[in-house]
């Protein structure tokens, strides 16, 4: 790999030779802050490589989704997303996402309170357990749930004799999705609670507030943006989960198919336009979570910047 210097003139080279970059900024204002150097082709090459790489791998798939969804016109698109099976899948997806959100938000708040505000033995074990689901394959998550709750699993026989079915039913889909998204809210909140310290809460306690008052009037306002981001992230991931849900759902049409599974079914039946139409809805949810992340990061930066100056 070559070196990494560039000058202002290099970057103007880029903006004048790369048509795509130029349309983004008609004023062509290019600022470079590192340091002056020579070798114009290096920075040109590196930036070009990255633009081509990200363009091919990230932007093109995004365009493909919407191009394919509308290929046969708006009527086919509307028919695909208002199809009764699609509507059932939407309802199930929303139900699952909402249940998972409640579970993981309550868990995230509880975990962040005890891990962020207290020092105790075994803290690191709990943190490691919270992070574990990230590195487990979705398919393995499904398998683990089958081993516990399946007909021949540890609890499956007992639960079934009490009329509670988990695998190939909605509870299994909720459990699988909750496992995959388990760390998302907690991981946003724990560092936040830790960074806030306990002084404000202790002051509130000394002034006579009870536990719930401390939480709602002191802690919650401090963590609300991190909480909101965790909630957005968790919802988006819960709606899009595929592998784990695919294993435990049983693909019973109109009953246990979520939106991603519905996309798979349509695609495997060669109904590509319909598959991409439903996929475009999921893509929009994903894009909303990206925008939310960008906005909330900006808010967080603005809020923390003055505090740093005081400290």
């Amino acid at each position: 790999m070559a070196s990494f210097e560039c000058t202002k003139s290099d970057l103007q080279n880029i903006s004048s030779s790369d048509g795509k970059a130029k349309t983004d900024s008609p004023s062509g204002g290019v600022i470079y802050r590192a340091r002056p150097a020579s070798w114009s082709w290096t920075s040109f090459l590196l930036t070009g490589l990255v633009v081509v790489f990200l363009g091919t791998f990230l932007v093109l798939p995004l365009i493909v989704v919407f191009a394919e969804a509308f290929r046969q016109g708006g009527r086919v698109y509307l028919a695909a997303i208002s199809d009764p099976e699609a509507l059932m899948a939407m309802r199930l997806t929303l139900l699952v996402a909402l249940s998972v959100l409640v579970l993981n938000t309550v868990f995230g708040l509880a975990a962040a309170w005890c891990l962020g505000k207290f020092r105790f033995a075994g803290r690191q074990i709990i943190t490691a357990l919270i992070d574990l689901p990230i590195s487990v394959s979705p398919v393995v998550v499904g398998l683990l749930l089958v081993l516990v709750h399946g007909r021949h699993g540890w609890l499956g026989g007992f639960l079934e004799s009490h009329g509670l079915r988990i695998i190939f039913a909605t509870p299994g889909i909720v459990l699988a999705t909750a496992f995959v998204t388990l760390p998302l809210v907690a991981r946003e909140l724990i560092p936040m609670m830790e960074a806030q310290g306990t002084e404000q809460e202790e002051a509130a306690r000394l002034l006579g507030a009870n536990g719930w008052q401390v939480f709602f009037y002191v802690t919650l306002p401090n963590i609300r943006w991190a909480l909101l981001y965790g909630v957005v992230l968790c919802t988006a991931r819960a709606m899009g989960e595929f592998g784990a849900v695919s294993v435990v759902s049983g693909h019973i049409r109109g009953l246990t198919t979520t939106l991603p599974l519905h996309v798979e079914i349509l695609y495997n039946e060669y109904r590509f336009s319909a598959a991409f139409a439903v996929a475009s809805l999921l893509t929009l949810i994903g894009l909303v979570s990206l925008v939310a992340k960008t906005l909330l990061q900006r808010i967080a930066r603005q809020r923390t910047a003055p505090r740093h100056r005081i400290a």
Binding site: L11, F118, I130, L143, V146, V263, K293
Partner: protein, 283 residues
């Protein structure tokens, strides 16, 4: 032991309430959601031995090799391209940079099934890129190359997001000092920049690898799923489950889990061992 003494043993005293309640909720939820399934897996593996013979099946062995090898290659490509992407996004200013920066998270945000069908359509022989590559005699979709494309796609953000903060923390003065002392650009990169960045590159590599080993949704559409050739290990787990062959499925899953946890652990140990000053700084 009375309750007060027990609490004092567990943690430092605090006037804040709710420790017992929140700890209890956390442990209970983790127990049901995480510990119980893993305990079931271990129990399942230790009760019967017939599952381990699955590893001798050529089809199983081929799938595991494909998943681990593919993940290793994909994570290496991600490490190089991710480092490059992070460098350009942090150090250079060009129109559209913020948009590209935000889009790096797309593989996280897009449901894997959607990524899967989009990549397949893009790289199919009649697709936009697939058609172009077809002219040069390269087929991507429904080959091992297609699997690699999907695995690189989902791994990119791990490396970029791990390396970006490290590049932001780099002091340009160090590079300037190196250059003013006569170091060439390559030497500056090799001796000054890379030593400061490689721990974060390695973290990103390990996370991309762990994700790629188990990736399912974005791969199965583009893979073609031919036994022994383009059949990944997670798909084989699904197939074994459909045949009620729980033992083989559990064994394949264990191999995958050990591989990804092993790499994550190895990287953690390597960093602790090589960067004692960093540990001292954060402690």
């Amino acid at each position: 032991m009375n309750q007060n003494g027990f609490h004092r043993f567990l943690r430092q005293r605090s006037v804040l309430p709710g420790f017992g309640l929140t700890l209890g909720m956390t442990v209970a939820y983790l127990g049901v959601m995480v510990l119980l399934p893993f305990a079931a897996l271990i129990g399942f593996l230790t009760t019967g031995t017939e599952g381990w013979s699955a590893l001798r099946e050529p089809r199983v062995w081929a799938a595991i090799r494909l998943s681990l090898g593919g993940a290793l290659i994909a994570a290496s490509i991600d490490a190089v391209l991710g480092l490059l992407t992070a460098w350009v996004l942090v150090r250079y200013r060009f129109p559209g940079r913020r948009l590209l920066d935000a889009l790096v998270d797309l593989p996280f945000a897009l449901p894997t099934a959607v990524s899967g069908i989009a990549l397949t359509t893009l790289f199919a022989p009649n697709g936009w890129l697939g058609g172009l590559l077809h002219h040069f005699g390269v087929q991507v979709a429904f080959t091992q190359l297609g699997i690699l494309v999907a695995l690189v796609f989902i791994g990119v953000p791990f490396v970029v997001r791990a390396v970006q903060p490290a590049i932001e923390d780099l002091d340009p003065e160090c590079e300037e000092a190196a250059i003013s002392l006569g170091a060439g650009r390559w030497t500056t990169f090799r001796r000054v920049i890379f030593p400061a960045l490689w721990p974060s590159v390695l973290t990103g590599f390990a996370m991309a690898f762990a994700r790629a080993v188990g990736e399912y949704g974005s791969v199965i559409f583009i893979a073609g799923n031919m036994p022994n050739r383009t059949e990944i290990a997670p798909l084989l787990i699904v197939i074994k489950l459909e045949q009620y062959d729980y033992h083989s499925a559990a064994v394949i899953a264990t191999v995958m889990l050990l591989a990804s946890l092993g790499v994550l652990l190895a990287v953690g140990v390597l960093q602790n061992w090589s960067q004692p000053w960093q540990k001292a700084a954060t402690a």
